[in-house]
């Protein structure tokens, strides 16, 4: 009988309490699809645009006036590393969406530098997602998405867009940067949804 490496890897990682196929890391790997944008807080802004083209806009100082949350969450990257109990400081998407009138089911997240990723609006709400600007007590470094990134820890980390600058609400779903070239549309690490068809 031959056991596939995939089967054995899955068994090991599940024993460690990680999603299938993941291994534990204590550093914080940086994966890049382009040059790192350097965005000052003065230039930074965040926009939610509804399906009716209504724009809600926050400057850096307006973001700071919203209630602060301090999530401690596990991160799971599609490239198979997981990092546990990371501490962040930021604003809940629930607070940003509080005054947004929308019936759209899908969101496209846009970043400075042109990166995009899509996900259901429901996955941004009910305490599941944040705009974070502080990591382990320090300003979020540009390599990790500073001045601010999206944090959606229940999905693979490519959904937690670095250098976030806005959310476009969509009636019809469409794929983002990685979803358009083979990566899974939803990306649930616990169901190992890495690639299309998983």
């Amino acid at each position: 009988m031959t056991l596939s490496p995939g089967f054995r890897g899955r068994h090991r990682s599940q024993a460690a309490g990680l999603p299938p196929g993941q291994y534990l890391t204590t550093d914080f790997p940086v994966l890049s699809a382009g040059p790192t944008p350097r965005i000052s807080r003065e230039r930074w802004e965040f926009t939610i645009r509804t399906e009716h083209q209504v724009e809600h806009r926050w400057s850096w100082s307006q973001l700071q006036q919203l209630p602060v949350q301090t999530p401690t969450v596990d991160l799971h990257c599609v490239t198979k590393w997981s990092k546990l109990a990371t501490s962040w400081r930021g604003v809940s998407l629930d607070d940003l969406f509080a005054g947004v009138d929308t019936a759209a089911e899908f969101a496209m997240v846009h970043s400075f530098g042109g990166y995009t990723t899509n996900l259901p609006v429901a996955d941004l709400l009910d305490g599941k997602a944040w705009i974070v600007h502080t990591y382990e007590g320090a300003d979020l470094h540009p390599e990790h998405g500073g001045p601010a990134r999206l944090l959606v820890p229940h999905l693979y980390l490519w959904k937690s867009a670095k250098w976030v600058r806005g959310i476009e609400l969509m009636v019809q779903n469409r794929p983002g940067f990685w979803e358009g070239v083979g990566y899974h549309d939803y990306g649930d690490p616990w169901r190992e949804q890495r690639y299309q068809g998983d």
């Binding site: 890049s32 699809a33 382009g34 358009g180 070239v181 083979g182 990566y183 690639y195 299309q196």
Partner: protein
């Protein structure tokens, strides 16, 4: 930190019979023409991303899954492949 386009020789040789790094691509963003070997390349994970040295637009992407390779050339208006 970007690599140069020669990095793509391996992943592209899996798909093409010719050496595509010697081809000249025309950026769909700004029209600049560069040898694929001169593109700015990021990767390999989550995928290879080659960008135009002139305007940083994405010219080419390659994602290798367990059972398929995705090749995206929509950022390349044309590719001149020497014979």
């Amino acid at each position: 930190m970007a690599l140069d386009g020669n990095t793509l020789a391996g992943p592209l040789s899996e798909l093409f019979a010719v050496d595509v790094t010697a081809a000249v691509s025309r950026c769909a963003g700004c029209g600049q023409q560069d040898a694929v070997a001169d593109l700015l390349v990021y990767g390999p994970d989550p995928g290879w991303v080659a960008r135009c040295p002139g305007c940083d637009s994405v010219v080419l992407r390659i994602v290798r899954g367990p059972s398929a390779v995705w090749l995206d050339l929509h950022g390349s208006a044309a590719l001149r492949i020497p014979l």
